[in-house]
């Protein structure tokens, strides 16, 4: 008897009991469900929830693999074991197995904790409330390890995942009912609860904290750098990464967010498969560019001089905002979350534009929160229903006017 039959048997055995949702979930996750719809006509569509989620996960895999290499590369670069890559995407000092191994041993535990804890919470809720386990956590569980710093302690991640899934999703009624993006809720929780692990110059490269400690103790360690570009710009330090480095992603940062190049590929894939909304992505990019350009103009007009604490980020070329920090990652994978984004087409334009616009604004004006995109997306998540409401009302008014004009 194969595993499939065993699962069928188990499922039938527990049919109608409290544990049924848990067995159903394992079954549908591994195999096609053995029940078919009975009677009546019904709509057939290829893109069910599971397929949607899987496509997003596929779009995330390049970022994940790159993140593993980058984690190792940043560490080995800081310890001086590899030389810096020279503006080329296929560089031997980046794509080597040592880098991958270090990344793998650091990132795999994060993924296991993220999925294990998150799915456990989902299963418990499904069993207690007696509904089916939904696939909603599959993408969240993948996103979470990609948007945290490499050295985050596992128990912190576990606490944050419990918080994010329960407060961000389950209290509203589970997948499809949540107001806030669960992955970002988890990150926001970490950010406010354990700020020393989520910001600053020591957390983005594996082992930077220890090396800084050794240095303070008098050891001769080469480099302790590990500041993200956003962090150093906020302190008005000059940019010491080339544009190509930033575009390809050979920079410190959260695990999956650094490579704008691969995020762009993921975005094209999501748009091509019609899973992600191109309206949101495009308008968010526009929003970020407009805000960045306004800041450039302010600098050009000499309103802000080099002594100002805003100078570093304001004087950054407006299009470079897209290459640094998590802006691109947030726009492509999180702003487009179909549940928490605006639903109407016009609403999506407004929603996306404001995300980009606010992200850059928060970045520049609040150096304490260099990663503005997280806060901007969460804020716009809250406003998305309002935007939709006014778009729909506007449409109704327009139609009423047309009707009146016709009847007159």
């Amino acid at each position: 008897m194969g595993l499939k039959q065993k699962l069928h048997k188990l499922k039938e055995k527990y049919q109608g009991t409290k544990m049924a949702p848990a067995f159903n979930a394992i079954h549908t996750f591994l195999y096609l469900p053995n029940e078919t719809t009975q009677g009546g006509t019904h709509i057939k569509a290829a893109d069910d929830l599971k397929r949607t989620m899987n496509i997003v996960i596929m779009a995330l895999i390049p970022c994940l693999i790159f993140g593993m290499f980058n984690a190792g590369y940043q560490h080995h670069l800081a310890t001086g074991e590899v030389s810096a890559v020279a503006n080329s995407f296929f560089s031997g000092s980046f794509w080597n197995l040592d880098n991958l191994w270090l990344g793998l041993t650091k990132i795999l535990p994060l993924m296991i904790v993220s999925y294990g804890v998150g799915l456990a919470v989902e299963f418990i809720f499904a069993v207690v409330k007696g509904h089916e386990v939904e696939e909603g956590y599959l993408v969240t569980g993948m996103l979470v390890p990609l948007i945290v710093p490499i050295d985050i302690p596992l128990w912190m991640l576990a606490v944050a995942v419990i918080f994010g899934v329960v407060i961000g999703k389950e209290v509203f009624g589970g997948t499809g009912m949540n107001v806030l993006n669960p992955a970002l809720t988890i990150r926001a929780f970490l950010f406010f609860a354990y700020p020393t692990w989520m910001s600053g110059d020591k957390v983005w490269v594996h082992g930077a904290v220890e090396r800084a400690q050794q240095l303070a103790d008098g050891a001769t360690v080469d480099a302790i750098s590990g500041e993200t570009i956003l962090g150093s710009l906020a302190q008005s330090q000059p940019l010491h990464y080339s544009t190509w480095d930033m575009f390809f992603g050979f920079i410190p940062g959260s695990i999956g967010e650094t490579s704008t190049f691969l995020i762009l590929l993921g975005a094209l894939f999501l748009i091509f498969t019609k899973i992600g909304s191109w309206r949101i992505m495009l308008s968010a990019v526009l929003g970020a560019l407009v805000m960045g350009y306004i800041f450039n103009m302010v600098v050009d007009a000499d309103v802000i001089t080099s002594g100002s604490k805003f100078f570093g980020l304001m004087s950054l070329e407006f299009w470079q905002h897209l290459l640094i920090g998590g802006l691109a990652f947030g726009i492509v994978y999180m702003a487009t979350d179909p549940v928490t984004a605006a639903q109407t087409n016009k609403g999506k334009w407004i929603y996306g534009f404001l995300i980009g616009f606010l992200s850059v604004m928060i970045r520049v004006f609040n150096p304490a929160y260099p990663e503005g995109v997280m806060l901007a997306i969460l804020l716009m998540n809250v406003f998305a229903p309002t935007i939709d409401h006014f778009v729909v009302q506007g449409n109704i008014k327009k139609r009423e006017k047309r009707l009146k004009a016709k009847t007159v």
């Binding site: 302690p153 128990w155 609860a193």
Partner: protein
């Protein structure tokens, strides 16, 4: 003769015992099924603002207990002579006087704490629970019942404050009443030796709202009758 007259009076109006079932309910109801914070959702502002430390929560709870207990009795005694048109002003004057007493006592005997609680003691005046109980109960009931009602509601309010304060201080600062209970975060003793860290989010007001929300969730899932549509 006088004794006989008294006895006759007693026979005429059977006196309710001080702690009859009805009177006891005045105290126990606000603690659970009619809690001012979790059921009536009143007095939230102060519950969010001052619960980062357990000590501040307890002082706040005691202050409200005093103001509401005494205030209810005073209003109840005056209920037949207050013209209804100006009753809100009269109530405000009563609360204000009591709050000033609390404020001065705190300044005299617990100066540090009064600085910490700063404006929130003064803002007891605007606490919806107090005006609510004056309006809804003290204006229509005798002093003893009003006293019990005041004590009960203030205790219900204080109970939630202390629960929220307990969790926020324990998880946010690792202390209780200012005494470190989880070890020393700098020397890395106790729990901190295992890599535990204080949760800074607990010290921010949004977390108080979430903790109150969790209490409401637990309470309503234990007693389904409390769930509104």
């Amino acid at each position: 003769m006088a004794e006989v007259a008294e006895q006759e009076e007693k026979v005429k109006v059977p006196k309710e015992p001080l702690f009859s079932k009805k009177n006891r309910k005045l105290i126990t109801d606000p603690l659970t099924d009619n809690n001012p914070i979790t059921i009536q959702v009143l007095g939230i502002c102060s519950a969010l603002a001052i619960t980062a430390q357990l000590k501040a929560s307890i002082v706040m709870a005691v202050s409200v207990l005093f103001v509401l207990g005494v205030g209810n009795v005073v209003i109840s005694l005056m209920r037949n002579i207050i013209p209804s048109k100006i009753r809100i002003i009269v109530q405000l004057i009563v609360v204000a006087s009591l709050v000033i007493i609390v404020d001065l006592v705190l300044k005299a005997f617990a100066y540090e704490l009064s600085k910490e609680l700063s404006v929130f003691i003064g803002l007891i005046i605007t606490n919806c629970i107090i005006m609510g109980r004056f309006e809804a109960f003290a204006l229509g009931n005798g002093p003893w019942k009003s006293f019990l009602d005041g004590i009960g509601n203030a205790a219900g309010y204080g109970l939630i404050l202390v629960i929220v304060g307990f969790f926020r201080e324990l998880l946010g600062s690792g202390t209780l009443l200012g005494i470190p209970v989880l070890g020393d975060p700098i020397e890395k003793t106790g729990l901190y030796a295992f890599g535990y860290e204080n949760n800074g989010f607990m010290l921010l007001s949004p977390m108080a709202l979430i903790v109150v929300g969790l209490i409401i969730w637990v309470q309503r899932s234990r007693n389904k009758a409390l769930i509104e549509d």
